[in-house]
């Protein structure tokens, strides 16, 4: 299975103190876990080595280096890019001893089924909507909405943690914009992955 953990160390912004993870970091970790599960990005069966005995556990540590708003979008991209890079070594279970032997030379890439992309909007008094808010915009906003879509235009997650109310039509507006943005971002990710593949 997959265990995501979002860390907001003090080095990324003066608003975060060192110590146990604050509410924002924990809420972000929960959000990422939900996105992974909702979008079926990684099917848990793919991580299984031997039924009922051995399975891979992927610990994803998402560490924020510089915080300028829009944490959720950036975390989802970082996770997607990192997972695309993952190579799982092949494991053979020795029948006689029952122990596993890991072969580091033979690696297979991780199978990613869906590519979810998050788009965040900052709401200002239910009239104005700003895509991809910076830290300053987020502070002044009266609410935020994050929409995660996958390639087929299906909604993986609509995350609106309180804030000023939105009509159904405005929400629909956000969703259409999120779907357009998904296409642009997907092209970008594919381009970058292709450029580092030969290594």
């Amino acid at each position: 299975y997959l265990v995501p953990n979002v860390e907001l160390p003090s080095l990324c912004s003066e608003r975060f103190r060192s110590g146990p993870p604050g509410e924002e970091a924990q809420a972000a970790s929960q959000f990422i876990a939900d996105v992974i599960e909702n979008s079926q990005m990684i099917v848990k069966e793919d991580l299984c080595i031997a039924n009922g005995k051995l399975a891979w556990v992927l610990y994803c540590d998402i560490i924020c280096l510089d915080y300028d708003g829009n944490l959720l979008d950036a975390s989802v991209f970082a996770l997607l890019a990192a997972l695309k890079n993952v190579q799982l070594p092949s494991v053979i279970i020795n029948e006689e001893t029952g122990l596993s032997e890991v072969n580091l030379k033979q690696k297979t890439p991780l199978i990613i089924r869906k590519h979810p992309v998050a788009t965040s909007f900052a709401i200002f008094d239910d009239t104005l909507l700003i895509v991809d808010p910076t830290a300053e915009e987020e502070d002044l906003a009266t609410g935020t909405v994050t929409i995660v879509t996958d390639e087929e235009g299906r909604l993986c997650s609509v995350h609106k943690p309180g804030g000023s109310p939105l009509t159904g039509a405005k929400l629909q507006d956000c969703i259409t914009r999120a779907i357009t943005r998904h296409k642009e971002v997907k092209k970008l990710i594919d381009k970058v992955i292709k450029s580092i593949m030969p290594k």
Binding site: E23, Q30, N38, V145, D150, L155, S157, P161, G162, P165
Partner: protein, 194 residues
């Protein structure tokens, strides 16, 4: 401190509201009340899921409570899960709103929580049981406000298409009417006796 309990079917949540009381220096805000929500699960210690739910509840309440009338105070809302049989988040939302009403805090509007489950064949069920939630393709929870039936909070679990989400939203807005009527009735009963 005024406790109020809300049960919907088998799910039951106890809400206790404390405030507006004096806030600690580190937590006080100069122009508005500082709202804090604590969600305690039935068993075990609160974990990451509870923190995320607390953040959603807190921001929903902040949008509704007129905090500017009580600057430099702290309002604490403690929610204890008594039993969980599905639709927990919307039960917490409803309990929170009733708690705020009961305590007499100034609110700009009321809100209510509605959960919709999308079955594998496309049927939409409101207020699903735990079993229906597990079998569903997607579970969506909305907090609807009372003044214009706008969306205050939205959370989804599982994936669904855009049209399905819109349909669920429309059904949730209609169901909100029933819930607001229930608020009105229970408050009427409470204040007409005394």
């Amino acid at each position: 401190p005024i406790p109020s309990s809300l049960s919907a079917g088998e799910t039951s949540v106890l809400a206790g509201l404390y405030g507006p009381a004096e806030a600690k220096l580190s937590k006080e805000l100069p122009d508005r009340a500082a709202l804090e929500v604590l969600l305690r699960p039935k068993v075990g210690l609160p974990g990451v899921l509870e923190r995320s739910r607390e953040q959603q509840l807190r921001q929903t309440c902040e949008a509704v409570v007129l905090g500017v009338l009580h600057p430099r105070t702290a309002i604490t809302l403690v929610l204890q899960v008594v039993s969980d049989a599905g639709s927990l988040l919307s039960c917490c939302l409803n309990a929170a709103c009733m708690g705020l009403l009961d305590a007499g805090l100034p609110l700009s509007s009321l809100f209510c929580g509605v959960t919709c489950a999308l079955g594998p064949d496309g049927t939409i069920t409101l207020d699903p049981t735990a079993r229906q939630e597990q079998e569903a393709r997607a579970v969506l929870t909305f907090a609807i406000d009372s003044s214009e039936r706008k969306v205050l909070m939205a959370t989804t679990k599982g994936s669904c298409s855009v049209e399905e989400m819109q349909q669920c939203l429309v059904m949730a807005q209609r169901a909100a009417d029933t819930i607001f009527q229930f608020y009105r009735d229970s408050l009427h009963r409470r204040y007409s006796k005394s």
